[in-house]
Each structure stands twice: as C-alpha cells, then as structure tokens.
C-alpha cells in the first residue's frame, strides 16, 4: 500500500515551483554521511489484502475472551460492551480528530469530554474530574506528585494489597522527585491494617493511598481510614474501581482529596492492556494543582454555550518545567467510550451492573466455599473479586481449567508469597453465567479429588 497521493507529475510540478531540480536538493541540510544509503531492512510494501492476512493470522494465534471464559481481573476486566460504544468510536469525527486546539471546530470532542468529566464527578462524588490520564497506574503516580506538591512533603503510604504492577509504576515516578513510597500491611480479613497505618503516618507523610476495593477485591472501611488519615494531617488518595461505585460509597462520601482509578472497565475493550484510561477527580480547591486537560463550559461571542480547554496555565505547553505534569496526548477517545458506556447504562443500569457483579462473584465464592480442593483467603467483604487458594498444584489446576475453556485467575504467589503458593485472584464480571461458575466449581472439585 501507499497512502501518498502525489503522482510523478505532481512531484515534478512541485519541484519546479520550489525551484529545485530534485528531491535530493531539499535534503541538502543533511550531510551525505548522515544519510541512509539504500533501503531499510524492512521488506517490500504489502497490499491491503496481504496485510489483512498477515495480521489475521497473528490474531488467530491468540486466545481472546470470545473464545475462553475468563476469570482474570486485577484491574482489567472482560465486560460486555454494547455496540453503541463502538458505533460512536468508529465515527471518524471522533477518532480521526486532533486535540481540540481550535475549539470552534471541535465542539463535538469538547462537549463529549465535558460530559465525561461530569460523569466521573458523579461516580466519584467529587467536585471535578479531568479529561483523562494514561492509565490507573500513572494516575496514581500523578496523584502522588500532586499531593506531595500540595503538602510540600515527600512521603507516601500505600497498601500492601495493591497491584504490584501499579506499585512499580509508582516507584518509577517517585524516584525522580525522591519520594519515599512505604507500605501498610493488610490484616487477617484482607483490609488495611488500621493500627499499623496510624503508626506510620508521620510529619513527612503527604498522603495515604486507599485502594477501594483493594487488590484482593476486599472493600475497605473507607470512612474509618479517611478519618484516621485526615486527623493526622495527610491527604487521602483513593484508587477506586469505577464499576464498584454503583453500589459502594464513592470517595466523595468519605472526603477523599484526590480520586484516581483505571477506567478501562468503562466501555473499553481489554486490548491486551492498552490503551487504558486513567481518571482523576478532586476537590474544588485542588483543581488548579491537577494534571492533564480540563474542559470547561463557556459562552461564545453570541452568548451561546460552548466548550474550551481551560486552566491551561497548569500545562506543559505554557508552564513548561513548572507544569503540574508533562502530559500532553492523553486517552481522549477512551474517555469518550466511557461516557457513551455510562450513558448507555444509565443510572439504574449502572447500579444493576455493579450489583450483578457482586451477586455473581458471591455465587462462585459460596460454591467454592463448599468445595474441596480450595480454601478462601478472606471473607465475603469483597466487591467482585476474591482470593482463592487452590490446594492441588496450581500449574496443573490452571492447565486443567484451561483445557475446559476456563482462564481461572491470576496467580498471586510471586507477588504475595504470604498468601500461599496456590493463591489465585478470581474476578467474576457480569459476563459470566451461572453455568460457567458451575463449570469453574467442577474443575476445582475435580482437582480436589471430589467428583
């Protein structure tokens, strides 16, 4: 394929208009010695037909959600995405447009993002949300930088029960500003160890991160933790699962200062983990400290409502090294997907969805509770994900499950040895059916020697 439109004739006319006799003359600023001679080692052009074959063949060598019954979660979830989301996203007006630098011809994107912000504010119960960040992990890192900036302190406490992937991203970001990231253990019931937390918050602590639910799926007693944190003068950063907010108290209810999270579950396909959607919401007072774009309503010169990017003096293209963040391109289209998804769910649908996840995950939990071959790490105080301990060798169990079409969960043994070798993080979304849950139970039962 070639997407270049100029023909040989066009090129000749253009060279003439420029006043050079060959393209080479235009390359004059590049010293001969610096240039590539000959072609790159990349193979010849391919027809569209050939590219489609090649890529389809690669796609076939994977085992996607449509084929396997997945119980994998850990932040990324296999949810049912209604066709209307893809419809909106496949409109070229949305997907091929640039950042809305010329607001007057970008009202579609601007209003869509404004509505997204408004929805995130509603979900989280916060005053305002930004237009998106890369993903949940870097959003948490940005929240950390923001809190340390506001507090002018350099220490942050994170729960042990946090995804180690997120933790690693946090550490990379912390290293630059020499922020100390310290861990708070979890207690026997899987919740944050409040006593330990209370002890660890010191003068230098800018903020405490609360993961709600935490990495093990457990719902934390957020109100208590928030009170404890605020009493000791630190800020509370809540890292939340957006779907859980359909039934679980939003950070606005327990007075969190900054809220971040991974927005993939809001209408975005899993896509092997990217693009994701980092969301951030905060209190009114902190808006000017917030990273990323913000869309505001305003009026045009005829007094009609319209939308613009605002508070740009926070951003890198104006403030440069003093910007609140270096972010420029973010995840605009994923934010639009989230908005369409939430609109399609609606108020009641959103609650129903969250409830359904809670119900289905509890059904599996209770089935497993009565099954030999496994034990359950914690109680029922989870949202849609829980930790199960497989008694038999985990590798064999996972292979057996897969042979029955089931991706049984994410092994936790490496990252959390304290949970045991057989620990598995099991997520149950609304896509799973009772029959599939029973099949899961049967695999465990068999592995446990029952039949």
């Amino acid at each position: 394929m070639s997407y270049v439109q100029n023909t040989d004739r066009d090129r000749n006319e253009m060279l003439e208009a420029i006043g050079v006799s060959s393209l080479d003359e235009l390359l004059e600023p590049i010293d001969e010695s610096l240039r590539v001679h000959g072609l790159l080692d990349l193979g010849p052009p391919m027809s569209e037909a050939a590219v489609v074959s090649r890529c389809t063949e690669l796609a076939r060598r994977n085992r996607p959600a449509g084929v396997a019954v997945g119980f994998l979660g850990g932040g990324i979830y296999d949810r049912f995405i209604p066709a209307v989301v893809r419809y909106v996203l496949s409109r070229s007006e949305f997907y091929t447009s640039y950042t809305p630098y010329q607001a007057e011809v970008s009202q579609g994107t601007l209003q869509a993002i404004y509505e997204y912000q408004s929805m995130i504010s509603r979900l989280t119960g916060m005053d305002a949300a930004n237009a998106s960040l890369y993903d949940g992990a870097t959003s948490l890192a940005e929240a950390m930088l923001m809190a340390c900036g506001i507090k002018r302190k350099g220490r942050i406490l994170v729960p042990r029960a946090l995804s180690q992937r997120i933790r690693m991203v946090l550490e990379s970001y912390a290293a630059g500003k020499r922020i100390a990231v310290e861990e708070v253990p979890f207690s026997d019931d899987g919740t944050l160890d409040a006593a330990s937390l209370a002890k660890r918050i010191d003068q230098e602590t800018a903020a405490v991160v609360l993961a709600q639910p935490n990495y093990f799926g457990i719902i934390e007693p957020a109100g208590e933790i928030a009170a404890l944190v605020h009493e000791r003068g630190a800020m509370l950063i809540a890292y939340v699962d957006p779907i859980s907010l359909g039934i679980i108290a939003p950070p606005g209810e327990y007075d969190a200062d900054i809220v971040v999270g991974e927005g993939q579950p809001l209408g975005n396909a899993m896509n092997f983990g990217g693009p994701l959607l980092g969301f951030m919401a905060t209190k009114k007072d902190y808006i000017r400290k917030c990273p990323g774009r913000l869309i505001s309503a305003t009026v045009d010169r005829d007094g009609r409502r319209g939308y613009v990017m605002t508070l740009q003096t926070r951003e890198q293209h104006i403030r440069r090294e003093k910007a609140t963040s270096n972010i420029c391109t973010n995840e605009g289209l994923c934010a639009v997907a989230a908005a369409v998804y939430l609109a399609a769910l609606g108020d009641t649908g959103f609650r129903e969805l969250a409830l359904q996840c809670a119900a289905k995950s509890r059904t599996l939990y209770r089935m497993l509770k009565e099954t030999r071959g496994c034990s359950l790490a914690f109680g029922e105080n989870f949202f849609q994900e829980f930790v199960v301990n497989i008694t038999s060798p985990l590798g064999t169990f996972l292979a057996e499950a897969k042979s029955r079409g089931i991706l049984a969960g994410i092994p936790l043994g490496n990252d959390f040895p304290e949970l045991g070798e057989g620990a598995l993080l099991v997520a149950v979304t609304e896509r799973r059916t009772r029959v599939e849950l029973e099949r899961y139970r049967d695999v465990v039962r068999q592995a446990g020697g029952e039949s």
């Binding site: 070639s2 997407y3 590219v51 997945g70 997907y95 949300a129 990217g274 808006i287 108020d347 009772r434």
Partner: protein, 479 residues
Amino acid sequence: MSTTIFEKGRDGRSGSFIPRNDCPLDDLDIPERRTLPLDLPCVAEQAIVRHYVELASKNYHIDKGMYPLGSCTMKYNPIVNEEIARLDGFAGLHPAQDEEDVQGALELIYELERALSEICGMEAFALQPAAGAHGELTGMMIARDYFRDRGESRTVVIVPDSAHGTNPASVAICGFTPRTIQSNGRGLVDLGALREAVGGETAVLMLTLPNTLGLFERDIAAVIEIVHDAGALVYMDGANMNAMLGIVRPGTIGVDIMHVNLHKTFSTPHGGGGPGSGPVGVREALVDFLPVPRIVKKGGRYTLSHESEKSIGRVHPYFGNFNVFVKAFAYISSLGAAGLREVSENAILNANYLLAKIAKHYDITYSGPCMHEFVASGRNLKKYGVKTTDVAKRLLDYGLHAPTIYFPLIVEEALMIEPVETERKGDLDHFAGVMARIAEEARENPDLLHDAPHDTPVRRLDEAAAARSPDLCWPIELE
C-alpha cells in the same frame, strides 16, 4: 449548541444491554454501600446515538480535510488498520493471560520493536510509554539510572528554547534541572552556547530533530560530539520522525535515546486527544535500563523476560497501548522500506512546496529548505491590527483547520505548518490560496478576521471567562 446528554433525559429507558442476572441478589451483604445519588443520564439507545451523531457533526477531522497542524503530523489514518485492531484476537485479550495464549500478540509487539529499531538505528525499543511525553519521561529515567549506575551525579538537562513544552516538563518530573539554550540566528543549536552550557553536571542534551522550526540541525554531528565529549547523552525527541524515515537513522548518527510517536509518524489516529504511544529506543549501552518486561524470542516462541537488575522498572502496568501497536504494525508492514522512504520524501516535498507558496504572503524567519514542516509568521499583518489567532480563526470559516499557532515560542506570531505526505498537491494549492486570500482580507477588511469564525458551530469562545470560573461539571441533581 447541543443540549447535554444530561438534558436529553434523566428518566429514560437505558441499560437493557446488560446480561441477564442468573444469580441470587438477596443476602449479598455488601459493606460500605453508596448513599450519594448517581444522577447519570438515562436515555434510550437511539437518543444516545443521535446525541453523539450531533456532536460528531461539530468536529473537524482528518477524513473531512487537511490538518496543517505543525508538530502534529496529522496524516491519513488507514481504515484497514482500524479494522485489524478491532479483531477479537487482539481486542479481546486480557494482559494477564499466559504467554502460550498470546503468542500472536507477543510476536506483533516483538516485530514492531524490531521494525522501530531498524527504522531508527537503535539497538532496542521499549513500547510501554503511552504517549510522547511519557516516552520522554521514560528516556529521562533511563538516563538518570544510567548515570546512577556509573556513579556519576549529573543533574542538568539542556533543552533548546525551541523545544516542545513536554520536554522541560518531563525533565523536571524526573528530577533533573532543565537548562534552556538559545537558538542561533538560523534557528539551529548555537554551538557556542552549547559548548558553554555543557559541563560535568550535564546529563543529557534533549533535542528535537528536525527541530520544531522544521529545520534539520546542520551541525548535528558537532552537536553530538560536544555532548558526548562531556560524557553526557543525547536524547532525541522523535516527534518529527516523519521527516527522516529511511533517510536518517538517529542511532547511526549518535543519538543515545529517543522516542517516536506512533500516533504521528506511524499513522495511528489521534482520537481527539489520544490514545497515543511513545516507544523509547536506546543504543546498546542502555538496553539494560529499559522498562521490564522485555519480549524475547526463543526458538520460535515469544516470552517475557523480567531479568534486568538495572531496569528502571515499569512505566505502564502492562505492555503499553497495544491497540495502537497493532495499527502501527499494520502500517509499517503495508508500506515496507520503500513506502516509508516515500512518506518522508513527500512530507518534505509538500512542506517545501507549501513554504514556497505561503512565503509570498507571510513572513518566513528561517529560510529553507525546510524538512517536513516550516514556521511562518503573521507579524506582517500586525500593522492591520490582525493577530495570528485571527488568521487561524478565519481559516475555519473556509472549512479548513488552522496550523499550530504561537509555537515554537521563539517565533513571533508563529504559524507552524506541517502539510504531511498524504495531502496531494491540489489540497496544498487550495490551502495556500485561502491563506493568500486571508492575508488580503487582513489588509482590506481586518474586522472580518477579528470577528472570525463566522460559519462554525459556535463563534469565538470566551476562554478567559472559563479560566476565571471554570465550569467543569454539569450540575448534579440531588433528586
């Protein structure tokens, strides 16, 4: 003015796509229940569709017309790549799946990394960064850990004054101190100033190539030598790589670290502000510092390697923006070596052709030949009381998009124009014609420009009012 989705209905019938619940709902015993109302919109599917179709009609987009935004490389986004990326075998993968279940995906990432390395002359690429700025930050982390590993304390990163804002911002977030150096009269790095600035505390020179004026640094060999001689590294912001595909391989000429923007050079759509992807490439000496995991090929199988003690760790929880990789991979495969070179040749040709035409009506500070873009100035219109913003807004009335304006900062009333290779001569002629006409209007009827745009979905918007009291959220109804 479109009503918001909230106004379209709070009492409609929505959510009927959710699977049926076949599990008991009673006795769920969920702690910490929500009491705050949600107040999400409630509208039926058709109302949603109409809402977004209406919003869509208010957007400019590449499938409508040319996007001469300098530094943004808004090129045609091939449709087939969208279709490929939507295949369930890609879109439906969970990132925690076993390696054996995602061999096709790993191969694609591996091959894309290899292709980028070949194109850029780098030893290896890491694909985790989710955008250009993220890539810059990753690059800075690599430099930081590299010097730490060598036991050197270097704290300064030199950044030319023409740099994109993300450059100093990334430097700062990484804990380095940015130091700005001024360009010389030709818009290039001033070798003298550079020599003066470089020293024992210099960690990195962060350079955009071609620079944001669209100029290739003629003295690049000398520049790199100066930096290397001081023991520092050269970082290249590769956002402008569209000028150099198959023409210059940065690694070969001495660049140590660089990023490319797949959402510019490699044709993946910009989505109204993302997602992007900003892979970072390094020379051999720095490979150990790349983020983990790395994908390695062993006997025809692809596997994840976390073995790298020196690695900076992770900058993304998974592999990066995989969906974007798929499109870039399809693009590079489609074009092949010859096609990529054709891209840059035509990007350069188009820019120089447009420069020749625009130069008749607007000031050009730095003379050509330019590479893939050039910077004009609207300062010649100041005498009519017309600003570059006015020119930009007037362009909208003609159904065109405006160039990047007021950047780079070193050009007064800058109009940064990047036509890209996928526009045809006729499109450029049309654009140049309109620009000429606007220059004429500025002389004859400047108010036409002051009052522009006239024919857009909304007229000029009050940004100051928004900044004074931002309205970031549609009012919540607490029932």
